[in-house]
Symmetry: C2
Subunit: 99 residues, 2 copies
């Protein structure tokens, strides 16, 4: 019984940390608009993956998985959107290339 309680606690902590970790990254990108070191492919794949996790959570009726990934989708989408905008702007030569 103790192991199950411990596992649930570790699982909850893991979900909190991996979800909340995208908040400082989203704030940094919103504040500096600098996405130079960020990989566009990563955030495209990651956002797609998180969307799958959300669908998975809804399909198996898991509230923690659904809520954690709903939050992460919002944060990852903010980062992805600004990264796409910067990449398009650099390609159009509109902005001093950050790379």
């Amino acid at each position: 019984m103790k192991v199950i309680i411990m596992a649930d606690f570790i699982g909850g902590l893991a979900a909190f940390l991996t979800t909340a970790s995208f908040l400082p990254q989203a704030i940094l990108v919103l504040r500096t608009r600098n996405t130079e070191g960020l990989s566009l492919i990563m955030y495209a794949m990651f956002t797609a993956g998180i969307t799958c996790w959300l669908a998975y959570g809804l399909m198996i009726g898991s509230l923690p998985i659904t809520i954690a990934n709903a939050i992460t989708i919002v944060l990852a989408s903010i980062i992805l959107t600004i990264k796409i905008r910067n990449t398009v702007a650099v390609r159009r030569g509109q902005r001093e290339p950050l790379i």
Copy 2:
């Protein structure tokens, strides 16, 4: 029965995408050494969170959770290490500040 199979497929796809997504970011950081837009706090929290997911996977005996997070820890740790090195170097004024 069909929903369960579909849910397992979506869950597997989600695990693959969110794990594999850190590969292009690790490659970009290894190639460019540029971690300017990356949040140190994000990668510290994320790496801690992934470590918890790995412990959780081991505790409940889930091979997919264990393998996916073991791979992600390696990739996230590469990014985190280079980010810490750059941050320390900038603080010591050794390198032309990227920020």
